[in-house]
Amino acid sequence: MPYIPHTAKDIEKILKAVGAGSAEELFSQLPAASRLKGPLAIPDGLSEQDLLSHLKALSSKNSTVEEYSCFLGAGAYNHYIPSIVDAVISRSEFYTSYTPYQPELSQGTLQAIFEYQTLVCQLTGMDVANASLYDGATAVAEAALMARRITGRQGIVLASALHPEYRETVATYLTGTGDHLSQALYCAETGTTLPESIDAACDDNTACVIIQHPNFFGSLEDIEAIAEVVHRKKALLVVAVTEAVSFGLLKSLGDSGCDIAVGENQSFGNPLSYGGPYLGFMATKSEFVRQMPGRLIGQTVDREGRRAFCLTFATREQHIRRERATSNICTNHGLCALAASVHMVSLGSGGLRKLAALNLSKAEYLKKKLKESGVEAAFTSPTFNEFTVKVKGGAEAALKKLLDKKIIGGLALKRYYPELGEHLLIAATEMNSKEEMDNLAGLLK
């Protein structure tokens, strides 16, 4: 039997030691009436070789973003992952270890996550970051709950230009504790959330306003102007980022008046993998640290005064505070955080800036080519590597036509925004060549 090393002799030895005549005696605490009589209806086990053949056959029923030119973003971005990332996360000292409960045996994980926390602080311009959350959507939901704890208020205002699946996740998370949700609508001209719209959506029970930047349409939000309104209402500003490569160019959230920065770090080091596992991040101001969800690694010393790291502020967490914990999260996405760190570190400050600039260049080029084909940007605001266009005849028809030429042209927005029937959300990253973009623009002419 795979992975079970016991020989008949071993089993005999165990039974003798425990004083049982047969293994059955040990299962006597299971209710006899409910014991399964027959085998599980699961196919017989495969040899490793046959299993791999089967998995390859199954995976070949999919078409990858290498086989197709892919212009999809919308919260999951196709970026080049340097080989060093997989080399590091494939070290079994990292991937086969548990949560670092025993610091003496886990300094590798602990230091790596401490460094990750620091990198997230540097990118976001915030004071303190946690060890990770599941994904961008759940990070937003956790930020909403955190804002409630900090302010004692209940209302949550979501920008309608926040990722629709993030909004849905927040709504699901909040059903248990009274939703108090409202929306701040995007401006049809700019594609951004105007301060007036935020102002109208807030009241004196608003705990926080949650916007996305660049937002779901790819548009850059005027965070400072929004922060001014939000803070006047004595609420907190939560800014979600789904495309973390944008940090390489865009002004830091901390410098823009953000109180809680959350989002998705998948862009760093984590493959698309059909939607997961990804990497939720959260960073905030020092004064809010006790209200943060999730694990935190701190620096300290060992008995001999050497630098050491350990889990800290654990009294916020479920295993100690139980129903009064800041979150129910336990297992988080540690290995994804390690992958992200390795990618960030291997880019370095210069590399990250170049990568971000390259993404901007690609998107600007594609915008220009599309415009030459008569496909206009839908909104006036500036964008980073993703933007929305209007396609005559409807986005869905255009996507169908492109698929025939092995191009996944982007995301039709109609399903999420019924009023945007002709709108197509397009992302361009360093993975999209000039040739691909020329093809896309040519076919949409």
């Binding site: 016991h6 605490q29 209710p31 699946e165 699901t172 160019l249 390690l338 060549s433």
Partner: protein, 490 residues
């Protein structure tokens, strides 16, 4: 006995930021094949940043060395025996890693058209089927990212069910042996926790539940096998009682590794259960995730499952968003797909008979440890256990030795300590879960070491107080970490 830990060259390594040298470059992006856009002319200056203060600049080789050195300070399942109770640290098969990295799985965008994702959807659909078969539930959602996330998902479905009946219920019963995530998830789902004391019995009785179950109570959340490593024998009768009051039974399936192919939770009256793929189904824990926490439900909760569902019609797979009673969604996209690939790979490698054998062997291994250590360490409950055995430091306290000292001394012998100080109902708990993938030789050696430590506790307790001594660092000052927090490099 000589300690197992031996000498080895372990190198010091600074923080990555301390290795940084301005201008040094690692792996930059490819050159641009399109005209370069000048950010300052494309974007208004208010959107732009100058640089990223403190961000490291190091060479690729320095990065490789940095992380290799850090990894050497870690202890993984591949390093040695890791009997962490309640965590099911079984072998993480390498074929699973190969499987998850196949381009046909790793390079799929979640929004790519369904007809280009048939293999992924088929895998997910099959995995749902296998998990339903193993747990005895009607339907499975693969969406939740971890056990606690699955708990929240299941509890929100329970809340939705009562709401749909026009009679929302406000409370949930949770025994004192529960994982902390249970009350935390319940609170988040809007339920008030009604704790039940198991009063030193280790298991729930019908009477304990009867005393608190009423028609404002959504039901019972229990772990089975429970955190003491015992099967909740009265589960069927307890479930009948809960159902007779209109309630539902949530089972925390964290300990499924003990019952695959032996009993099905669905047959025992369980209405909803979460399964931890990173425990029972061999996916690695990654130093703290990612895991995956699928949820199985019986018929009554099926309409409330999160969206989308995976549908199979005429040999074609699709995502079904049209579910009017759904609770919504637990996260973006469909769940931790690459973890599902690993669990699928495990299940297909094992087959139905292999899974059953895994559970049987896990029980054998746990009982072997329990039986052979029970005179040496105080056994919390002396009866046949399931997948784990819970001891305590009661016999050692007289020498001034506590569970923490025993745990730390084990490190010097080359073992990861068991789960300690949990469950809370056992004072100074030492919770040992060997899993089925360990040989009897490994268990023998561990048992000998545990006995040697008990002896040391009597004859030379200072050895335990000083432990560990062979690790890169000694015991850490957690008080200082909390009193003078340093949560980032500056």
């Amino acid at each position: 006995m000589e300690a197992n830990g031996t000498k080895g060259l372990v190198l010091e390594e600074p923080l990555i930021f301390e290795k940084s040298f301005p201008g040094r470059a690692g792996i930059g992006p490819a050159p641009s094949d399109v005209p370069e856009a000048d950010p300052a002319s494309v974007l208004p200056s208010k959107f732009l940043r100058k640089g990223i203060e403190g961000f490291p600049d190091i060479s690729e080789m320095d990065a490789a060395r940095h992380y290799t050195r850090l990894s050497q300070w870690n202890f993984g399942l591949d390093s040695g025996f890791y009997p962490l109770g309640s965590c099911t640290m079984k072998y993480n098969p390498k074929i699973n890693e190969t499987a998850a990295r196949l381009p046909g799985f790793a390079m799929l965008h979640p929004y790519q058209p369904e007809h280009l994702s048939q293999g992924a959807l088929e895998l997910m659909h099959s995995l749902e089927g296998y998990l339903a078969e193993i747990s005895g539930m009607e339907a499975i959602t693969l969406q939740p990212s971890a056990g606690a996330h699955g708990e929240l998902c299941g509890l929100l479905m329970m809340a939705a069910y009562f709401k749909a009946q026009g009679k929302p219920r406000t409370k949930i019963i949770i025994p004192d042996t529960a994982h902390g995530t249970n009350p935390a998830s319940s609170h988040l789902a809007g339920f008030k926790v009604v704790p039940v004391k198991t009063e030193g019995k280790g298991a729930l009785s019908v009477e304990m539940v009867r005393a608190v179950m009423d028609e404002d109570t959504a039901g019972l959340m229990l772990t089975n096998p429970n955190t003491i490593g015992l099967f909740e024998r009265n589960i069927k009768e307890i479930a009948d009682l809960v159902h007779s009051k209109g309630g539902l039974v949530y089972c925390d399936g964290a300990n499924m590794n003990a019952i695959m192919g032996l009993v099905k939770l669905g047959d025992l009256g369980v209405d909803v259960v979460q399964l931890n793929l990173h425990k029972t189904f061999s996916t690695p824990h990654g130093g703290g995730g990612p895991g995956s926490g699928p949820v199985g439900v019986g018929k009554v909760l099926e309409p409330y499952l999160p969206c989308p569902r995976i549908k199979k019609e005429g040999g074609k797979y699709s995502l079904d968003f049209n579910r009017p009673d759904t609770i919504g969604r637990m996260k973006a996209f469909y769940g931790n797909f690459s973890i599902m690939v690993r669990a699928y790979s495990y299940i297909r490698r094992m087959g139905g008979a292999g899974l059953k054998r895994a559970s049987e062997t896990a029980i054998l291994n746990a009982n072997y440890i329990k039986e052979r250590l029970k005179g040496t360490y105080h056994l919390a409950f002396d009866e046949p256990c399931m997948h784990e055995a819970v001891f305590s430091d009661k016999f050692q306290l007289g020498s001034g030795i506590s569970t923490m000292d025993i745990a730390k001394r084990l490190i010097d012998y080359g073992y990861h300590p068991p789960t300690v100080y949990f469950p809370l109902v056992v004072h100074g708990a030492i919770m040992i879960e060997p899993t089925e993938t360990e040989t009897v030789d490994t268990l023998d050696r561990f048992i000998e070491v545990m006995k040697a430590i008990a002896e040391e506790a009597k004859t030379n307790p200072q050895l335990l107080k000083d432990a560990p001594t062979k690790t890169k660092i000694r015991r850490v000052d957690e008080t200082r970490a909390a009193r003078e927090p340093i949560l980032r490099w500056k």
